[in-house]
Symmetry: C2
Subunit: 342 residues, 2 copies
Amino acid sequence: MRAAVMYGAGDVRVEDRPDPKIVQPTDAVVRTIASCVCGSDLWPYGSMPATDTGRPMGHEFLGVVEETGADVTGLKAGDLVVAPFTYSDSTCDYCAKGLHISCRNGGRYGFDGVDGGQGDAVRVPHSDGTLVKLPVAADSELVPSLLALSDVMTTGHHGAVTAGVGHGDTVLVVGDGAVGLCAVIAAKRLGAERILLAGRHAPRTDLGRDFGATDVVAERGDEGIAHIRDLTGGVDKVIEAVGTRQALDTALGAVLDGGTISRLGVPQYEQGPIGPAEFMRNITLTGGASPARAYIEQLLPDVLDGSITPGRVFDRTFALDQTPDAYRSMADRQVLKALITP
Amino acid sequence: MRAAVMYGAGDVRVEDRPDPKIVQPTDAVVRTIASCVCGSDLWPYGSMPATDTGRPMGHEFLGVVEETGADVTGLKAGDLVVAPFTYSDSTCDYCAKGLHISCRNGGRYGFDGVDGGQGDAVRVPHSDGTLVKLPVAADSELVPSLLALSDVMTTGHHGAVTAGVGHGDTVLVVGDGAVGLCAVIAAKRLGAERILLAGRHAPRTDLGRDFGATDVVAERGDEGIAHIRDLTGGVDKVIEAVGTRQALDTALGAVLDGGTISRLGVPQYEQGPIGPAEFMRNITLTGGASPARAYIEQLLPDVLDGSITPGRVFDRTFALDQTPDAYRSMADRQVLKALITP
């Protein structure tokens, strides 16, 4: 089969790899119908040291079950499924409490002999616990929005949930990437009345307005903070959907004492400001990697009935062979989020 | 009047200072009956650069109202009152949401021309919004426990509340200082079933057991973490009542993915570990300086009826003139918490 492999910064290749086969009796093999490139894929794309072995890429995919292991009971060949961006058994103590991202037996696509999602097919470990069946046909126009449940939409939702967004709230979303935009959808869905979106790419913030953002803050740094404070006096709930220190500093500058910052962007820093100043202000820092699997079934009805349309974050479609172009276009910010089809 | 003033590390003096007078119409003058030394007073006691002017010390006191300003309506001379460790108007937006520590018009004792609490008397700004009347006599044996409401008990409670402690929970309290011990009281009061106390001073951890700790972990660092994990498999809720990086690292090592660490000790660091590892684990970092005023009335009935006895953290009483000894004894860990009487 064909699959995308990263060999270093800026070096993604589509190459032939062994066809996935059932290894464990809990595995399923999924023939990919749609996958995509994640903002988090761009971090190694910008900085990964060159390697001879390469790393299979991609962790968001939707496809048709082709084969199942002997112990798989909930899936059969022909099922259309979406995969959360990590696999999980859905039975361990962490999964039981909805924290599938920390599954005792879970793992990441593209590591430990597991395929990446950007390819013709994927062997999915713990497939019963991982994959979610979709009640639509493989050619449904809902596919992009359903694919968004694999990561960006469930991640945006995680931000809104952990920030404690509720009816009538004012929420700041920092970052106009696909996750930030999905956080806008999620905040609105949970009842936020005023949603400020900090971002400076007009096509993205325009989409953010469509999704429910009531105000757009294009300035960065202190100017951005001043603008947010002018508009609101400060906000109680912030979803930080970038991962840089600057984004965190914006969140800290905009949040009111006693407020909550939920982080969705993988931090590009090891240490951060949690000293006496933040302590005196009673800032809560929460969020993290989304337990996507826990949220898919929760959000699915809203995708199916069209209440939310997170698939709109995909603004260009690439054939699998063009995956290197998809990375380049996203890294150059010409594309918000690239959809990949076989 | 006499009052304690710190002139540098290890240099606390009791000296004559001007008698407090009403300055603002919202002021009250309180004649002190009991005050105490806070764990946080020990940080400057250990490191404050020498100064000629000195800094009035103390922010926990209980006393009798002596005089009130023209605008004070809720207090009168003769009222026995306890003061939360910061003053606040109880009317601003922050106070309205129970975050009196961030009061728009609030401040700290010993700063900006306001007396410290370790003295014969204190001018209390915004006295109507700050002081809480106590329905006992000034010679009540409840005075130590009522004084504890000014800081340690309300701070311990803040930790339990922000950590989300509820019925049946397992909670780790890091630190066997007065705040840690009060956090044990608070966790038990909120229904925690198992309370691990990390501390290595037997007289203190013994008191912690009296307060409700079910397990004591005397080891530090990795050994302590291993012991906690042996006992519990990891805990969902941690109250960090020290403020050092080691204590935070213990909390991070003991907490389960998806868990909450509430910090009560003023951080003795500016930056801390909030990078990809903590992000992937979905650790929530919360807590901060307690809005003591918000909690006093809530905890008062339990002190009055003897359900909780936080005053037991006071293990030695000093006369005001002996305040330097009180500091020394606490710094040397001979005394857990020093009560000071005129």
